[in-house]
């Protein structure tokens, strides 16, 4: 105990007269910690803001894309409707008649070679 007292006396004596610590160490530590928390809080707030804005943008983008998909689907179904196809065929003079049943060659599911190749009069085989 006596040794400690001497050490403390020496410490007091070694300090220059009139010079004091501006902020006590503990307070400094606490303030630094607080500032760190505040900065972290601000950073997280900023990140949250940025992410929420991004989410909102994406939500809007999703809604707009969904609308676009529906509109494209609508246009496609109009384009491929039988009525429109018939009209286009007529407009481009592509109107055709169905072949009569005796002009149709029907192939079985697993056709033997003689079904796939029609024999030419000359004896050669040509792809049908």
């Amino acid at each position: 105990m006596a040794k400690n007292r001497r050490k403390n006396k020496l410490r007091v004596r070694s300090r220059k007269p009139g010079v004091h610590a501006v902020i006590p160490g503990t307070l400094f530590g606490a303030l630094t910690l607080l500032a760190t928390f505040a900065m972290a809080y601000l950073y997280i707030c900023g990140r949250c803001d940025a992410i929420s804005k991004r989410i909102q943008e994406l939500e809007q983008q999703k809604a707009s894309l969904q609308r676009e998909i529906v509109n494209e689907e609508y246009k496609w179904s109009r384009l491929t409707s039988t009525e429109n196809m018939k009209k286009l065929i007529r407009d481009h003079n592509l109107d055709m008649v169905w072949p009569s049943e005796d002009s149709v060659v029907r192939l079985p599911r697993n056709p033997p070679p003689h079904f796939l190749y029609a024999q030419h009069p000359g004896g050669e085989y040509a792809h049908d």
């Binding site: 949250c48 803001d49 929420s52 804005k53 989410i55 909102q56 609308r67 676009e68 529906v70 509109n71 689907e73 609508y74 179904s77 109009r78 491929t80 409707s81 039988t82 009525e83 169905w98 009569s100 049943e101 005796d102 029907r106």
Partner: protein, 590 residues
Amino acid sequence: MRNIRGANTPMIERRSWRRMALLALVMTLIWGGLGARLFYLHLGDNAHRLQKAENNHRRSREILVGRGRILDRNDKVLALDLSTKHVVVDPEVVLQSGYSRFVTHQLARVLELDPAMVAAKVNRPGRRFEYVMRHVPMDLASEINSMGMLGVFFNDASNRNYPGGRLASHVVGFANHEGVGSAGIELRFDRELRGVPGFRMTEIDGRHREVYQRRTMDIQPQEGSDVILTIDQHVQYFVEVALDKVMAQHNAKGAWAIVQHVRSGDILAMASRPAYDPNEFNRFRDDDRLNRAIGFVYEPGSTFKVAVFAAAFNEGLIKPEQIVDCENGRWIHNGRPLRDFHPYGRLSIADALKKSSNIAAAKVALELGEARLYDYLRAFGVGSRTGVGLPGEEGGILNPRSRWTSLSISRIAMGHEVATTALQLVNMQSAIGNQGYLMKPRIVKQVLNTRGDVILDVKEEVLARPIRADTARLMCRLLARITETGGTGVRAQVPGYTVAGKTGTAQKPTRGGYSDDDNISSFMGLIPAEDPQLSIIVVVDEPQPERTGGRVAAPAFREIAEQVVRYLDIPPVPAEVAQEFQSIFVERPM
């Protein structure tokens, strides 16, 4: 000097002090007042103020969802919710900009509107809001927006759209302006199509922008489900074109047709005339919106004989080659005459069916007896709804036996005193083509949610088996003779195929009897007869001047069948099958 200063200084200091005191007092009062107010606002009775402040920045709203789509069997869209824009002008801004003529011209050009009408809306000083056109497609709205015209803006909107217009309108139905299904599939599957709206509780900032972090509740909406039909858009088109043609050719009051897949009972097409455009449903009469294929009950006439003959064959009471006396076209039964359209003497049962003799049918029914006839008709589904799942389906009329008169059996045999819908008849015919199995007609295949999960899967269902397979096959053979030379349905022949069918020409009932001029003409047939794949019925209401089913409905059947077998790639049966089919009944010279 010193005295003067000395005399003045205390006075000045005193004044300065007073001023300072006064200022301090004023400041104290101000700050004290503000403090008191602050104290009161925070700690006093402030509940209603808090509520008001919260209401100013809190927003809660329902997130509405669009209705689901209605698709055909190949996923072609028949109905969908389309995003649109309302084009709006602010006349005051447009007029102030000095470009009112330009704006009028451009809007009229892009929206294909009458320029005078647009000008009338734009030239309204003092007005701040005028709709130019509602539900404008997004493409057109974008085009207008790209012009950057001052005072022209857009409101988001959505409307139910039917890309096919009148195509399958009676099946698809329509949703009204509030988005509530009001007819057809739209009505039947309203709950599934409508989905569940979401809910969001959030806060907004001073610029009315949502503060995302303040979303306290966010319940996502459940989009409406998609309903997939068994209808094939192309088959439907063939049928509708044929009906339009028959309506125009025969000045008919109405016409309707159904194409059914024999094995599964799937309805590939169901059309009715007059028709309506569901995009403008309120411009049409109720009568136009009636789906006659399921909602029009009529006396079927000779097409009904199919059930009577099938029942008698199934009971083994008659044979095709058995002779029946057709009484030269006039037969008195229970004191009342029964007539044939053409007089015949002695005919085989097969020929009596081919010639559609009423007298022969009545004699066959008498042979069968009331009890058995009634049971068979019930087993074929006469007098009860098929359960196809469309609103407005009628069950037809088959009186209980207790209400039959002594004449009833002979009249029912020729398709009078009994009333059916076209769907009941085509389904009955399908049973004959399907080895006697009566299937439940199916028009909805599946209901899928937005993730593609199956919510409802409508399975094929056998309702009954009124006749045996051998009877069904015999009936197919005998019905095929009707479209052969000498039969009433020659005009239903499809080149390359054998058609089994039956014509029907029924007089329409009037007060106290039957009309001499107004008929319901029909033809129903199976194709190919040897191995039936499709069952088709065409009914024409009050055709003029031709009135028989063979002349009016049979050609329409042919037109439909010819295109559908090719489109669905249904080949004619192999020669050996056709030969075996012909051998079921061989006509012998009498």
